[in-house]
């Protein structure tokens, strides 16, 4: 049969067409391969160390350049185990299981110190497992967070230093108040101790407890502005003296606000003589309108004062204080705070012992 050179289909049938090659799919295969290689190149450029793992054997099916670089390994044909690629800060082999004992398709994270060519560094490890076609595999990504964590730690340290400096100032101020009036000074320290216990039972967060204690330690700082003669008057005061005395709440608030103390502290100082029924001073606030810190500090102040000896009266007994609290817990005092005080007193809380008092 003669071949008609123009009949493309005939030529194609004989395998002589332009695309008749049995392996004419090679360019497509090559395109896909180069795509995969491009992905791998991109992964190799990533700064995070990336491991693809066969689980549960923890065989490294793939690791990018950054993952090889952790310990300065060289890419080989043979598959490694993950523990050949990870070392603890002591140089011991590290398995995935020891980091993440539970396989989960949810991402799990944790900070882990690893030995690298550049010494021990902390990494954020992110791990996620997946089951596909009956095969369990996992992806482990390690991000070097050494710098970030170090900066964070530095910040926390300087914050702590600032906080300590503030506490020193607070204690110094309290000590100065005590110099002026020893009863007031002792009262501040003891009520701070009590306020701390109350704060714990109210389950306040640590920073709030710190502020509450600061407020209690300084709640009578305004007494510095009250003439010493008035402070020393034994027994009931004349109305004019009482008004002068009551000024200490506002003076205290002013001092603290001026020194840049948080508002929660200065308001607690201002309102620590308010009572739930509105009978207190300086503003006659009622119930929930009185800030919580003010209610607690006020409670601690009252309890401490009743339990303490004053020049013009002896100390009240524990029973008397308990009775007073029970009687007025609805009217004068915050109920929850009063309840806490009652149980603290029943458990043996006492103001007299000065030993072990850190305030």
């Amino acid at each position: 049969m003669p071949i008609d050179g123009n009949d493309e289909q005939f030529l194609a049938l004989m395998g002589l067409g332009a695309k008749s090659g049995k392996k004419s799919h090679y360019p497509e295969l090559k395109r896909r391969l180069s795509e995969l290689e491009r992905m791998r190149d991109l992964l190799d450029q990533a700064r995070d160390a990336i491991f693809l793992l066969a689980l549960p054997e923890e065989i490294v099916e793939y690791q990018n350049e950054a993952a090889l670089g952790l310990l300065g390994l060289v890419r080989t044909q043979e598959k490694r185990l993950l523990q050949e690629c990870l070392k603890t800060s002591h140089g011991a082999s590290l398995t995935l299981f020891s980091l993440f004992p539970f396989l989960s398709s949810e991402e799990q994270r944790k900070i882990v110190p690893l030995l690298t060519r550049n010494g021990t560094r902390r990494f954020e490890a992110s791990f996620q497992a997946a089951v596909e076609g009956g095969r369990t595999s996992g992806i482990l990504i390690l991000r070097d967070q050494e710098e970030r964590i170090a900066v964070q730690e530095q910040l926390a340290a300087s914050l702590k230093a600032v906080e300590e400096a503030r506490m020193k100032t607070v204690r110094l101020t309290a000590a100065m108040v005590e110099m002026k009036d020893s009863y007031t000074g002792k009262n501040q320290r003891q009520s701070a101790r009590l306020a701390h216990e109350i704060g714990l039972r109210l389950e306040l967060p640590k920073p709030e407890i710190d502020d509450l204690v600061t407020a209690a330690l300084l709640h009578d700082v305004g007494m510095m502005g009250v003439p010493t003669e008035i402070l020393c008057i034994p027994g009931p005061l004349r109305p004019v003296d009482r008004r002068l005395m009551q000024e200490h709440a506002a003076i205290g608030r002013d001092i603290l606000a001026k020194e840049g103390f948080p508002e929660s502290i200065s308001l607690a100082v201002l309102h620590h003589h308010e009572r739930m029924d509105g009978s207190g001073y300086p503003d006659g606030l009622k119930g929930e309108d009185i800030p919580l810190f003010a209610r607690v500090v006020g409670m601690a102040d009252v309890v401490e004062a009743m339990l303490s000896h004053r020049p013009y009266r002896p100390a009240h007994s524990r029973e008397e204080v308990l009775r007073e609290l029970e009687e007025h817990q609805e009217t004068l005092y915050d109920r929850r705070t009063a309840e806490i005080c009652i149980s603290l007193l029943l458990e043996g809380f006492s103001v007299s012992e000065e030993t072990g008092n850190k305030y």
Binding site: G15, L16, A18, K19, G21, K22, K23, S24, Y26, P27, L29, K30
Partner: protein, 382 residues
């Protein structure tokens, strides 16, 4: 007949005929080539066959690198040098243009590149683990048939042994078989490569791994050599004889690539390695001695060979008739008939036998030679 025995037949895509060579670019493109590694030798370039191939690549706007540092009996260091060029130039496809040396070297370059190992790692059968880059072969001799075979013979310079690499991975992807390329072969090369093709066909036909499929190709190759080799030697420019011989070589290649070979090739690899002699000449010389030693193991098959060569099958002494025919063919081709004519020392025969014994071609030889018998064969040929 081995019709019921399990057999496999592997072959590349084959394009046979005038103009096949100019399809190089199209097939390189279809196989995903971007930069083509063109393996050839100075003789082929001088004969003018590189130019049209490069034109064809240019037409498809493919880039290429020509590696022509290939000599007869290609060595491991030639292969490794080629693989370095392949990698340095970022080639992705192999185009071999030439005789058995260029094609064998090119196939091994692909294996080395893909596997990142020394070529000696692949010596033996099925020892290439990773797939090689695509290979297109354009043979310029009518004999080696490396363009269709799963063989690559590479010489170890230190041991002077020609090692056989046998693997499906190095069966080329495409063979562009263009008889015109053989028009530039001189008489000696035409004779040696033609008798090489005959040796392939005969050894494949009597091989212990032969099958109906390979028998068909082997017998046709023997017929074609019998008819066209004398004509081609008479008139080197006769394109019909050249086409007949190219077809003979192709058939013989399909037969031996799948049925493998025998004692002649085993000893020929050993001899060619030791004295650095052309493969075709070694085969041509050793063929009749191999047939003589093997005859009793497959008398009927050898008689069919005699028949295919135009001899009388009912001859009272078919072995003598066949040997006479082979001797006549060889001497008319002007190729020496004795090992001593090659400058070989008699004391070297034992080494030859020893190396030959270890060649994988011995596995399929019809007669199970021991060392003494092999040495006796060589002594007869000496």
């Amino acid at each position: 007949m081995s019709g019921f025995a399990l057999r496999k037949f592997v072959a590349p895509e084959i394009l046979f005929g005038g103009g096949a060579l100019s399809l190089a670019g199209q097939y390189a493109r279809n196989l995903g080539g971007g930069r083509v590694f063109v393996a050839t030798d100075p003789g082929v370039i001088e004969a003018g066959w590189l130019e049209p191939v490069l034109d064809s690549l240019d037409q498809e706007e493919l880039e290429y690198t020509v590696f022509s540092d290939i000599r007869p009996n290609p060595t491991a260091s030639m292969v490794m040098a080629g693989a370095r060029v392949f990698a340095d130039e970022r080639c992705d496809l192999i185009l071999a243009l030439g005789g058995g040396s260029s094609m064998d070297c090119a196939k091994a370059v692909g294996a080395v590149h893909a596997n990142g190992a020394h070529v000696r790692e692949f010596v033996g059968v099925d020892r290439i683990p990773l797939p090689c880059p695509p290979v297109i072969c354009i043979p310029t001799t009518a004999g080696s048939a490396a363009d269709v075979s799963q063989f690559s013979i590479i010489k170890n310079e230190e041991t002077k042994v020609k090692n056989a690499i046998v693997s499906k991975s190095i069966v080329p992807d495409v063979a562009l078989v263009d008889p015109e390329t053989t028009l530039t072969m001189d008489r000696n090369l035409t004779a040696a490569t033609g008798l090489d093709a005959l040796t392939h066909a005969i050894e494949a036909y009597v091989s212990r791994a032969s099958s109906d499929l390979t028998d068909l190709h082997a017998l046709q190759a023997i017929r074609l050599v019998g008819e066209f080799l004398p004509k081609a030697l008479d008139n080197l420019s006769d394109i019909d004889s050249r086409t007949g011989m190219m077809l003979a070589s192709l058939h013989a290649g399909l037969a031996f690539s799948n049925a493998s070979l025998g004692v002649v090739h085993a000893l020929s690899h050993s001899l060619g390695g030791l004295l650095d002699l052309p493969h075709g000449e070694c085969n041509s010389l050793l063929l009749r001695w191999g047939v003589e030693a093997n005859f009793s193991a497959a008398p009927e098959r050898y008689t069919r060979i005699l028949e295919a060569l135009g001899g009388n099958a009912s001859s009272p002494d078919p072995m003598k008739a066949l040997l006479d025919r082979l001797d006549a063919l060889r001497s008319s081709a002007g190729i020496p008939g004795r090992l001593r004519d090659l400058g070989l020392g008699e004391e070297q025969l034992s080494v030859l036998a020893k190396t030959g014994e270890e060649d994988p071609c011995m596995l399929t030889n019809p007669f199970p030679f021991n060392h003494e018998e092999l040495e006796a064969l060589l002594r007869n040929a000496y």
